[in-house]
């Protein structure tokens, strides 16, 4: 009797996979390697992971890839540190067999995992890591759908020039991003605004008391302060610059889009008012059909406008799904060819990866805009675009004297 039951069970185990092929197909895994804990910018990582998950859900809802295989995301926390990033990438590439890895935010981590991407032949995507050298190395498996620092620094130099500021101080952290900002801003000032003076200070990312550095800057009497902190240091600069009487008397430009996040006002209160900041997405932008659908779904689910990191994380996953279908294979070499040959609908335009000169290698760049908060607790949807001139929706305003 027992023997008969065993045989019946064996038969069931053998027959069920044959009769339900869709269930038998293993999913295609995409890695999301992003900062989800300090010292990384964990809030950024959360938004990127959120967008990537929504991308995977969308692809799976329309039938998956490669004839019915589901996309399975494997999320790993890199903590914004190269060593954890490298360990996470190894796991994704070897243990999880991910066909590609998205979600990179910190340039230092991206720089560390690029070499592994080449070694394991797994494409890695920078979602918000912007250091020049990332794409300048011309590595086969490195892709980026985010701005690069030379463009960022040229843009803020033009903004400084347009505003007529003659003395600019840049305070930033000792990371690949921060050091890159200093180098690129020096180059940009030399070429675009030779008459202006630039003072740069690099501080250790772990430091929490920036009073001496900010007093030194205040004593130098700058016309504008460029805030190159990422995550906690960005907030510390704003808070402490306010406390020593530097900001908002001296206008501040924050180097990335962290002020668009809900915690900005919670952390800074009125000290965050009058800050200008660079963004890559604005609620008034016209998006692609795909981008608009994502925005609607995101707003319905989270009751707030999407953050750029979420848009970019989403785009990278759906782009990879398109590339897998175009490749008709989950082999990474085939995927690589499809990525290089194809044109993909992103959130804001058609994405393609050409192999251009310098850092413009397998690189797609979103728009960059300067916006400004002009009142406390101002919603991001209300902010005006103050630069560049062709996209302006309002004028930049100096803070009233305290």
């Amino acid at each position: 009797m027992i023997e008969r039951v065993r045989l019946a069970l064996l038969a069931v185990l053998l027959v069920v996979p044959l009769t339900t092929p869709a269930l038998a197909q293993k999913p295609v895994k995409i890695g999301v390697l992003t900062p989800l804990s300090p010292p990384g910018d964990a809030a950024a990582g959360q938004f990127i992971a959120r967008g990537a998950k929504m991308g995977a859900e969308e692809v799976n809802a329309r039938g998956g890839v490669l004839g019915g295989r589901k996309i399975e995301l494997v999320v790993e926390d890199d903590s914004g540190t190269p060593e954890k990033g490298a360990a996470g990438f190894r796991k994704l590439a070897t243990q999880d067999q991910a066909v590609a890895v998205v979600g990179q935010f910190h340039s230092s981590v991206m720089t560390a995992v690029q070499a592994l991407a080449e070694q394991f032949k797994v494409p890695v995507f920078s979602t918000q890591a912007s250091a020049r050298q990332i794409t300048e190395q011309h590595l086969n498996y490195t892709f980026r759908t985010h701005v690069i620092d030379p463009d960022r620094c040229q843009m803020w130099t033009r903004w400084v020039k347009e505003r007529g500021f003659k003395r600019a101080a840049l305070i930033t952290e000792n990371t690949d991003y921060g050091v890159g900002l200093v180098d690129e801003t020096k180059k940009a000032f030399a070429s675009l605004y030779p008459g202006a003076e630039l003072k740069t200070i690099i501080f250790d990312r772990a430091v929490v008391d920036l009073t001496p550095q900010l007093l030194e800057i205040k004593n130098w009497k700058p016309d504008v302060l460029l805030n190159g902190g990422i995550g906690t240091p960005m907030y510390l600069i704003v808070k402490q610059a306010f406390d020593v009487g530097l900001h908002p008397a001296v206008p501040m430009l924050i180097s990335y889009d962290a002020p668009t996040r809900p915690e900005y006002w919670k952390n800074l209160g009125e000290k965050g008012t009058w800050a200008s900041f660079i963004v890559y997405y604005h609620p008034t932008m016209k998006l692609t059909t795909r981008g608009e659908a994502f925005r609607k779904k995101y707003m319905a689910e989270f009751k707030e406008d999407p953050i750029y990191g979420a848009l970019n994380g989403y785009s990278q996953v759906v782009l990879l799904a398109d590339a897998l279908n175009a490749a008709k294979s989950d082999k990474t070499d085939d995927l690589l060819k499809a990525l290089l040959a194809g044109k993909f609908e992103g959130w804001n335009g058609t994405i393609s990866f050409t192999r251009g000169e310098g850092p413009y290698w397998q690189q797609w760049t979103p728009p960059m805009l300067v916006t400004q908060y002009t009142k406390p607790e101002m919603a991001f949807a209300e902010v005006k675009i103050v630069y560049p001139a062709e996209l302006k929706t309002g004028d930049w305003m100096a803070a009233p004297k305290r």
Partner: protein
């Protein structure tokens, strides 16, 4: 050198040095009594900042930081008692070999545990309680009202600590334990109970620093790291086990960092304290006020 800027830097260094000395005092106090280093001190600082934030936002309301502060210290004091009683005390009972090393490893494990617990409970994001006071000018130095409040509160706490240690029976017992653990037991004092008290008070001092600096340095899972770092620098400069050394070391560290920032560059601010520390270890290994253990 601009004397105005110099005075600003020195004042800024003194202010932050005094506040950091609270952390150093906690470390050195625990060491004095238990003869072990608490590597998880920064996490008690972190917990203090979280409790302060939670109390201000959910219970006492903005502007009542002075009510939240003793509550935050009290909560961490109780946590310290529990940690000492159940996780550290077993190593101090009986003849456990290498108990100090085991206890030290336990505090490292606690550091990892509390940091991850903070991520699980509060998420990885930063928080900031509302400002305790409006920005003020201290002499030539414009500083945040929070830091001014922290300075005053630190001085009050240091004064209270001094009074308790010097003028009360418990303080005398603690001083006795610091000088000779065996000797004080012969006088009939329960040294294990003193250990528990010392650990609770030490971590409560760290929590006070965390609570006071929360609006300026933010609340997040790793915010205690730099304060621990500074605390250890200070106790090596001032002398391990010396209460006076904690305060003098704190001020000295703050001033050295400030002077280095003026005369070299503010970019290397944290390097100058280490140069002082190395020099002291070479020429005066016991620190400025370090004492030898007395024996009977």
């Amino acid at each position: 050198m601009d004397p105005f800027l110099l005075s600003q830097y020195v004042l800024s260094g003194v202010v932050i040095g005094v506040i950091y000395s609270l952390m150093a005092l906690g470390i050195t106090f625990i060491y004095s009594i238990m003869k072990m280093i608490n590597w998880g001190m920064g996490e008690f600082y972190m917990i203090g900042s979280y409790v302060q934030y939670a109390l201000i936002v959910n219970l006492v309301g903005p502007g009542r930081w002075y009510l939240a502060l003793p509550l935050a210290m009290g909560a961490v004091f109780v946590l310290g008692l529990v940690v000492q009683r159940f996780l550290l005390r077993p190593m101090f009972v009986g003849g456990v070999e290498r108990r100090d090393e085991y206890a030290t490893i336990m505090t490292i494990a606690l550091m990892v545990f509390f940091r991850n617990l903070a991520i699980v409970l509060g998420g990885p994001n930063q928080y900031a309680p509302p400002d305790y006071a409006k920005p003020v000018t201290l002499g030539t130095l414009p500083i945040s009202g929070n830091r001014f409040v922290a300075l005053i509160a630190t001085l009050v706490l240091l004064g209270l600590f001094y009074l308790v240690i010097k003028k009360t029976w418990v303080g005398r017992a603690l001083r006795g334990a610091a000088q000779n653990r065996v000797g004080i037991q012969t006088a009939g004092i329960d040294v294990l109970r003193l250990d528990m008290l010392a650990f609770g008070v030490g971590v409560a001092l760290a929590a006070a620093a965390g609570a006071l600096l929360a609006p300026d340095f933010l609340v997040y899972p790793e915010n205690g790291a730099i304060s621990t770092f500074k605390g250890f620098e200070i106790i090596v400069i001032g002398g391990l086990g010396s209460i006076l050394g904690s305060v003098v070391g704190g001020v000295l560290l703050g001033v050295i960092e400030a002077l280095g920032s003026v005369f070299v560059s503010s970019a290397y601010k944290d390097l100058y304290g280490f140069l002082l520390l190395i020099a002291l270890l070479v020429f005066r290994p016991t620190g400025l006020f370090g004492e030898r253990e007395r024996s009977v």
